[in-house]
């Protein structure tokens, strides 16, 4: 176990590509933009020695869609990288080649929020059933089930 990294150390390493703040004693939050996410992830992996991805969380705050990547390493600090995406065309470059566990989380977020991860060809459904209509993203705040649409299951009455 190596020494915990400090906020100043983080700020020094990512000064051009994001801003950092300490939200808890063991968590540092970096804010960045979608275009720079790959550089930030690479810096965090190499310069801050974070070798594990915990999860990628997505949230809808009413105005924009947010993506937060959580990484950690043997120094036991959690580094959260947050970015915001516009609702009408949420696109962000994929990180599944530099961070292999991200693949499964990206597919799930695409199903539920509609965020498009550019640069990968296999973004097919993983968590919603095969009859689910396109362009309906259930976890967005403005989505409600439409009684006229067929979302899957059995059509008609049972015998």
């Amino acid at each position: 176990m190596i020494d915990p990294i400090t906020l100043d150390f983080v700020r020094e390493k990512i000064q051009d590509i994001g801003t950092a703040e300490q939200v808890r004693s063991n968590r540092i939050r970096i804010t960045t933009t979608p275009g720079r996410i790959r550089d930030v992830i690479r810096s965090v992996q190499e310069l801050l020695s974070c070798d594990r991805l915990l999860t990628i969380s997505a949230a809808d705050n009413g105005k924009t869609l947010e993506l937060i990547y959580h990484l950690t390493g043997s120094h036991r600090m959690v580094v959260s990288i947050a970015l915001e995406l516009p609702r009408d065309a949420p696109q962000v470059p994929t990180t599944s080649d530099i961070l292999p566990p991200a693949g499964i989380y990206e597919r799930q977020i695409h199903d539920l929020f509609g965020i498009l991860f550019q640069g990968r060809s296999d973004l097919k459904k993983i968590i919603l059933n095969e009859d689910w209509p396109e362009n309906e993203y259930p976890l967005r705040k403005d989505w409600a089930p439409d009684p006229g649409t067929f979302y899957g299951g059995i059509k008609g009455e049972r015998v």
Partner: protein, 177 residues
């Protein structure tokens, strides 16, 4: 009390069915607690295998199907297809709160709310999850239903007179003549 009639082989088959039903388990999406309780029935503590009740993998070998979990949209059509493959006479037990009405998951966007809306159910078992004792009780209730159905020559007697063939507890309702 009706007398069981029929040829010797038919009577033998009826006796064997009532004595040791084979059960198949179908998990229709859910938290798995009910499945664990069903498997706990097979274990040395409750041990239903000594009564000849085996849990088989294939629906074609089964007399009774136990449906656990609340039915998700993905599993609904598969549940119907599996049920259609079970040879008659067949009985369905829906376990737990999820089987009756969806349980805590009632009304969520990926669910069909009750097993009853996909296939006809013969017994509901209360609990979240039901204890293994209650599950064994449900299987025995289905056996009693089987005996009654054999005496009446099939399942149709339960559907005449407008009596629903689904039950909310493990009691059997009388047919009003």
């Amino acid at each position: 009390m009706a007398v069981i009639t029929g040829s010797l082989s038919q009577r033998l088959v009826n006796w064997a069915r009532v004595k040791s039903p084979w059960v198949t388990l179908f998990n229709s999406g859910g938290c798995n607690a009910c499945d664990i309780e069903v498997i706990a029935c097979l274990m040395p503590r409750f041990d239903v295998e000594r009564f000849g009740i085996l849990v088989k993998g294939s629906p074609r070998h089964a007399d009774i199907m136990i449906v656990t979990g609340h039915v998700t949209l993905k599993q609904a059509s598969r549940l119907r297809r599996v049920w259609e493959q079970i040879p008659e006479p067949k009985y369905v037990i829906a376990l737990g709160a999820c089987g009756a009405s969806g349980g805590v998951f009632h009304g969520l966007y990926h669910s069909v709310n009750s097993v009853d809306s996909v296939i006809p159910v013969d017994a509901f078992v209360v609990g979240c999850p039901p204890r293994p004792d209650e599950i064994i009780n449900a299987v025995v209730t289905c056996l009693n239903l089987l005996k009654e159905d054999i005496a009446h020559g099939g399942k149709e007697w339960r559907q005449t007179k407008g009596i629903k063939n689904s039950k909310n507890t493990t009691e059997i309702r009388e047919v009003i003549q």
